[in-house]
Symmetry: C2
Subunit: 270 residues, 2 copies
């Protein structure tokens, strides 16, 4: 029997388990979570069959906050030496560095990042279709077993995702710009508006602001971890962005800049 | 017959005309636009009955880019001395200052800003329900006729909006933070990502990035004008934001900051 052990039963892990079970990849899903309420929610939704590793897992999905991925991968490799291990964290290089420093990277561990998410969180928000059409970046390294990379990549494809490979460093640099920096900005903007009372703020915002700041409602613990782990890359992009936060006195130059930025954004939806 | 003259037949003006006609406020809408294609689109959609002011208007709605509002208000006051005049611009104080400097603010002019919009633009994107549940900020000044303020405010309420009054300066300061700065950031972020090729970028973005940068697809000319007119206020908020674009080394302090920002954002939807 193919069994999945889900370590971290939140939005991303829960959605993978739902999707993978629906696709017939696993007949059984066991789950662990440091938060008993999160595990209970995942069991109540039928995402998890039993707590702990009731039977020996075929695969272990590490879906904890990024700060504990290295520790959880090492634990899984020790406890389940036959299992394929993968994670779903938003930052890749620090966990890989930590594993190498503390005794080596398990060959059966495939670092993955499904570029999906939501300002919602927890198993209650999990959806079997979260990864349909989603981009999954896989960042294997020299130690990673090639057959295991192919197997895990196949699972992602089976649940509707597109898989690409990058180095952990390229991934972390790019995602710092496209995801971590936007989150930092959205948090900083809401913090900056802390002195504006809620009623006044509500009258001053439209759909544009609501869309722009939606990610500021994301889970604080998850995002504290991500920003902390990828701090250097995020701060490099802050430095790259800062000189662009200007309004040119020259109206034509300003309009030209905006037009180029707009064209780049429009192409993203093309 | 109550007739509206629409000066600027884009998204906001077109939506006001559609909504106001549906609410029975005007039986006829005439329209003008510096761009013949925009006027043709508004006529094709039945927003505008005839070009120019075919009959003497009861009201003139100035819905041009903010850089030309003062000029258009002065023209409307000269040509249609019996008409109520209002605008829908995102920046209020500069046009008021310009009108005062060039011969006085017409008492029948009510500065308005419906806090609505879309990354779409043009009459094709106009919707009769754009202002339902929308916040409209009215910024009358000492010269403004009280009866006319009440009349224009009533029109906005009749099409579903909530009306509040602010000074032009308070409005411009607040909207610089909630709308103009987010647009500047979204444009700057897309500009910063200009060197990342489109295919790579597409694989590195999820729904969070798409929501965050949606406003970067807004009309370049409209936004060049807004940022130019409200430049000083926007740059003050850039200075307020910059020191917050940090990632604390202290993980607990970082998590606390994020939790407070998150709570502020969540309350906005409460």
């Amino acid at each position: 029997m193919n069994a999945l052990l889900l370590v971290g039963t939140g939005l991303i892990g829960g959605s993978f388990a739902l999707a993978a079970r629906a696709a017939g990849l696993f007949e059984r899903v066991d789950g662990m979570d440091a938060n008993p309420a999160a595990l209970a929610a995942a069991r109540a939704r039928g995402i998890v069959d039993a707590p702990g590793a009731a039977i020996e897992p075929t695969a272990v999905c590490i879906a904890t906050p990024v700060g504990s991925i290295a520790e959880q991968v090492a634990l899984a490799a020790e406890r389940h030496p036959q299992a394929v291990i993968f994670d779903v964290g938003s930052v890749k290089a620090p966990a890989i560095r930590a594993l190498r420093a503390q005794g080596g990277l398990p060959p059966a561990f495939v670092p993955c990042h499904p570029v999906a998410g939501s300002e919602r969180h927890g198993a209650d928000a999990a959806r079997a279709d979260l990864f349909e059409g989603c981009s999954v970046v896989v960042t294997p390294v020299a130690e990673t077993n090639a057959a295991v990379i192919a197997q895990v990549s196949g699972w992602w494809r089976d649940i509707g995702a597109t898989v690409t490979r990058q180095t952990p460093e390229t991934h972390d640099c790019l995602l710092a710009a496209t995801s971590h920096l936007p989150h930092l900005i959205a948090f900083a903007l809401m913090e900056m508006l802390g002195d504006v009372d809620d009623a006044t703020l509500r009258r001053a915002v439209g759909g544009g602001f609501r869309d722009f700041t939606r990610i500021a409602a994301a889970d604080a613990a998850v995002w504290g971890d991500i920003l902390h782990e990828n701090r250097d890359q995020v701060l490099r992009w802050v430095e790259a962005l800062a000189p662009r936060l200007v309004v040119e006195e020259d109206k034509a130059a300003l309009a030209q800049r905006i037009a180029a930025a707009r064209a780049k954004r429009v192409r993203l939806d093309a």
